[in-house]
Symmetry: C6
C-alpha cells in the first residue's frame, strides 16, 4: 500500500478523532485482507453478528485511545 | 454520519464520564452497522448472552480509560 | 439509570480500588442488560465457565488500570 | 470478601510484580466465582486448553502493566 | 531468531508507524509459529474470516499505541 | 516457581525488549500450567491455529507496551 492515507494523528475535535480511529481500525483489516471484493463479501456476515460488532467497537476504542492521547484529549480547544 | 454527537470528552463527574464511555462504545457499533433496525434485531441476542455482556463491558472499560484520562480522573473536582 | 453510583474514582487503598474496578465492570453489564432478573438468570452460566471467568477478570483488570491511575497507584499513602 | 489481600501495589522487583499481577488476575476470577470447589473443578478444563491459557496470560499482562507503572518500572532499584 | 529486524521504534511519520505496528503484530505470530510454510497455509483461513481480521486489527491497534507513544505521536514533526 | 527469571525490565534495544515481552507472555502460560509436558502437548494445537496465533501476538503486544515504557521506548539510545 504505497498511497498516503495517514499523514498525522491530529484532528479538529474529538468526533473527528473518533472517526480517524474508525479509519485506523479498518486499515488494520485492509492490510491483512487487501482484496476489496473479499472484504465486501464479509461485510454482511459481521455487520449482522452482535459479537463481531462488539469486537469492532473494541478495536475502535483502542485506536481512539491513541488518537485522543495524540491530541491531548482536545483539552486546549 | 454528519451530525455532531461528540463535541468533547469533558464531563461533570466520573459517572457522567462512564456514561460517555457507554455512548462511545455504542457509536462504535453504530458506525459499523448503521441500520437501527438491524441493531434492534440483535439486541435480545447479546443482551441475554453472558459472554456478549462481558465483552460489552470490556469495550466500555477501554473507552472509560480514555474519558477518565481526558478529565484528569476528575481529581481536581 | 438516574441514581448516583459513581461519585469519583478515589479509594482508600489498592484493594478498595480493585473492588471499585469490579463494580465498574458489573455496571458495564448492567447498563447493557438492565433487568436484574435476566442477569441473575445468566449468573450460573458464566460463573461455572472458565473462559467467561477469565474474560470477567480481564474487564476488571482494565478498569483497575483506570482506578489505579486515578489514585496515583496509592503511592503517597 | 472482607479480608485484606492487597495492601498496596509496591513490590521488591519486577518478578515479584509479575507474581502480584498473577494474584490480581486470580482474584478477579475469585470475586466472580467465590466457591473454591467450583474453581478447583474448572482448573483442569482451562489448564489443558491452549486458548484459555493464552487468555489467562493476557489478563496477567494487563495487570502487570498496572503493577509495573505503580513501581515506576523498578527503574530506580 | 538471530537476525535484526527491530533496531528501534522511531518512524518518519504516523503511517510508517502504523506499518511498523503491523510488522510487530506479524512478528508475534512468527515467533510462535516460525514455519513460513505453516503460516502461509493458514493465511487464506484467517484472511477470509471476519472475526480473525477484526482480531488482527486489534493486535495492530495495540502495537500502534506503543509505536505512537515512542514517537510522541509525531507531534513535533 | 522460586527461580529468578525476571530481574528487571531493562533491555539493550527494542528487539531485545520485544523478546522479553515474548518471555513474559510465555511465563503467564507457565504459571497457569506448570507442566512442561502439558504445554508441549498443546503446542501443535495452537501453533497451527490462526486465531490462537493472533491471540498470542496480542498478549505479546500488551507485554511489549510495558517493556517499551520501562525503557522509555529506547529513545535515548
Amino acid at each position: 500500500m504505497s498511497d498516503k492515507w495517514l499523514p498525522n494523528l491530529q484532528t479538529e475535535d474529538a468526533q473527528a478523532g473518533y472517526e480517524l480511529a474508525i479509519k485506523l481500525s479498518r486499515m488494520g483489516v485492509k492490510y491483512t485482507q487487501p482484496s476489496d471484493e473479499e472484504r465486501t463479501r464479509m461485510r454482511p456476515e459481521y455487520a449482522s453478528n452482535a459479537d463481531s460488532l462488539i469486537a469492532s467497537s473494541q478495536v475502535i476504542a483502542i485506536n481512539f485511545q491513541t488518537v485522543a492521547a495524540a491530541n491531548n484529549y482536545w483539552i486546549a480547544k
